[in-house]
């Protein structure tokens, strides 16, 4: 099993979710996050006092999928999240040791 961790633009999250729905991904965890990367930041003025905002708002989508589904999921996310501009985000893949459904105690891919 693989955990797909995608950091995407907030304004693309609805599209990402729809794309994942389309390929049958039923479970995901979505978090509002802030981070910094190649996009750098921007400055704001409050009565002339300047604030540089480096930590930009992003949305993190976490999905655990079977090894076989990984490429399809990654492609779906890329297709929905990409604008071509700096700041589209990143996807991280990590191996997952096990998964347990709390209600039934099923384990492994059965728990996904």
């Amino acid at each position: 099993m693989v955990k797909v961790e995608a950091i995407v633009r907030p304004q693309r999250i609805d599209e990402v979710k729809a794309a994942l729905d389309d390929i049958g991904v039923t479970g995901m965890t979505v978090t509002e996050v802030r981070g910094t990367g190649a996009q750098k930041g921007y400055t704001q003025q409050y009565r002339g006092a300047e604030y540089t905002v480096n930590l930009l708002q992003k949305v993190k989508v976490e999905i655990v999928v079977s090894d076989a589904d990984t490429d399809r999921v990654v492609k779906a996310i890329i297709g929905a999240a990409r604008t071509g501009e700096i700041g589209d985000g990143k996807i991280f893949l990590t191996p997952v040791l096990d998964a347990i459904r709390i209600r039934t105690e099923e384990r492994g891919e059965d728990a996904l």
Binding site: Q45, Y46, R47, G48, A49, Y51
Partner: protein, 488 residues
């Protein structure tokens, strides 16, 4: 206000004339009755009742205006600094404040004649309230006395001990605001007799609170901010709601200061609105050019600056000068706010830059733009020459008197605030919140409340064993609310 001596009596004559005309149409027998005693005018009374309520609404408006600009951990404290003035100053005004401000005595402070409002009844007063109940005039003035010390709170935001603030505004309203109001508006007041004009409180309310705010902020010291601390406003929509309430309430403040529902109050209404509009636009435009973005905060700041500037002038200037004053004050205050960074004082929400600088500009501009055509009280008051501003053929004389008013307000406000704050520092064990209280936030540490229950506070509550009533030391728990280590 038309309470400027001379201006006052002039207007009295005009109003009396109108009244006599109306009555003569009704019958000759009534004419004798008019001359016997001043009568309450229903229209005037209705408008001042509404105006008093409008002016009171400005204080919650100010609370929101300021509250949105501080950080979320201090917003309740900021709101309370305005609201508590409604409680404290109201009572003090009835007990002694009104008497010290308005009872006739000497040129600098009122007597104790009206202490506890004795003698202040629903009958008219032949100097202050010729056509409305005296107690209505008193309560209308009370609303001004409430918002003035509350204005100061913006300068000391996010770090002042609430107890010290409460004591400060109580003393300040009695020994700073009341004497200043007496000098400007009181019967026989020094500036009133001199002929300095202040229609609705540019000097008494804005210059006085603005300079006091600066001095108190300096005595209090800067906030303890780390080098990169994020001090951005936490809720600008709240600030804009406050701006709207202030703008609407200001019609009571300025148009109500005619103490009548007449042409003069309509003029004040028009000039107030136009100054606010042009100042809001000007500030937005300046930022658009300087920072490439027209900010909501800039718009709100400009609107308030325009309202401040027109306050002393509202019943003396025409619509075009009002528009010019609105533009002028935004340019001036925009740059005045930048002084803060250069000089290093921490006037958190720019009370000095907006209210003191804007008030001074408004007071002096009154000396430029005042026209006897707008205010019949300026037509040969007490048999003297007609009064006009420098730009309307009146020469430099009025401008000079306005400058004297500005000078007195600045010096008096600065000295008195310094004295009160210094004494309170000694007797109250300091007037600042502790560094820890400031760091955690004044809402939780001084008031035991939080404005917003964020998800993270739910987690904190779970760590504390849920919400408890009474016994749990909420403040203490939050102070140590660092992430709790996971159990192995």
């Amino acid at each position: 206000m038309k309470r400027v001596v001379g201006v006052w009596s002039g207007l009295g004559r005009v109003a009396g004339g109108v009244l006599a005309l109306a009555v003569s149409a009704a019958g000759a027998w009534a004419q004798e009755a008019t001359e016997a005693a001043p009568a309450i005018d229903a229209g005037n009374t209705a408008w001042i009742l509404v105006s008093a309520a409008l002016v009171l609404l400005m204080t919650p408006g100010l609370a929101l205006f300021y509250g949105g600009m501080v950080r979320g951990k201090n917003v309740l404290n900021m709101l309370m600094q305005s609201f508590v003035a409604m409680a404290i100053v109201s009572v003090l005004w009835a007990v002694a404040g009104y008497s010290l401000a308005f009872a006739k005595a000497n040129p600098f402070i009122g007597s104790f004649e009206w202490v506890g409002l004795s003698g202040v009844t629903d009958a008219p007063d032949d100097f202050y309230a010729t056509t409305i109940p005296h107690n209505l005039f008193m309560v209308f003035q009370m609303m001004f006395a409430i918002i003035t010390p509350a204005l100061i709170s913006g300068a000391v935001a996010e770090r002042m001990k609430f107890s010290a603030y409460v004591v400060f505004i109580a003393i300040w309203s009695l020994i700073v605001y009341a004497p200043m109001a007496h000098m400007v508006w009181g019967e026989g007041g020094y500036l009133a007799t001199l002929g300095a004009l202040d229609f609705a409180g540019g000097t008494v309310v804005h210059i006085l609170s603005g300079i006091s705010a600066l001095v108190l902020a300096i005595v209090l010291g800067k906030r303890k901010l780390s080098a990169h601390e994020d001090t951005r406003p936490h809720n600008l929509p709240m600030t804009l709601i406050g701006t709207g309430l202030l703008w609407v309430g200001w019609f009571g403040f300025n148009a109500g200061s005619a103490v009548a529902a007449d042409g003069l109050s309509a003029n004040a209404f028009v000039s107030t609105h136009l100054a606010a509009a042009s100042a809001a636009f000007a500030w937005m435009a300046i930022e658009w050019v300087a920072y490439k973005k027209p900010t909501a905060l800039g718009f709100a700041t400009g609107a308030v600056a325009g309202l401040v500037a027109i306050t002393p002038a509202a019943g003396f200037v025409g619509p075009l000068p009002a528009i010019i004053m609105g533009f002028g004050v935004s340019f001036l205050s925009f740059f005045a706010i930048k002084l803060k960074a250069k000089l290093g004082y921490d006037d958190t929400l720019d009370v000095f830059g907006v209210h003191c600088v804007g008030g001074i500009f408004g007071a002096l501009a009154t000396g430029l733009f005042a026209q006897s055509r707008i205010n019949p009280g300026l037509l040969a008051p007490e048999g003297g020459p007609e009064i006009n501003g420098l730009f309307f053929g009146g020469g430099i004389e009025l401008l000079g008197k306005q400058a004297v008013g500005v000078l007195i307000a600045v010096v008096f406000g600065a000295v008195m605030t310094f004295l009160i704050a210094s004494v309170l520092k000694l007797v109250m064990g300091g007037i600042r919140a502790s560094d820890e209280e400031e760091g955690v936030g004044l809402d939780l540490t001084l008031h035991g409340e939080e404005a917003y229950n964020s998800p993270s506070s739910v987690v904190e509550a779970a760590h504390r064993g849920g919400m408890s009533h009474g016994a749990a030391p909420i403040g203490a728990a939050a102070v140590s609310a660092t992430p709790v280590a996971e159990a192995p």
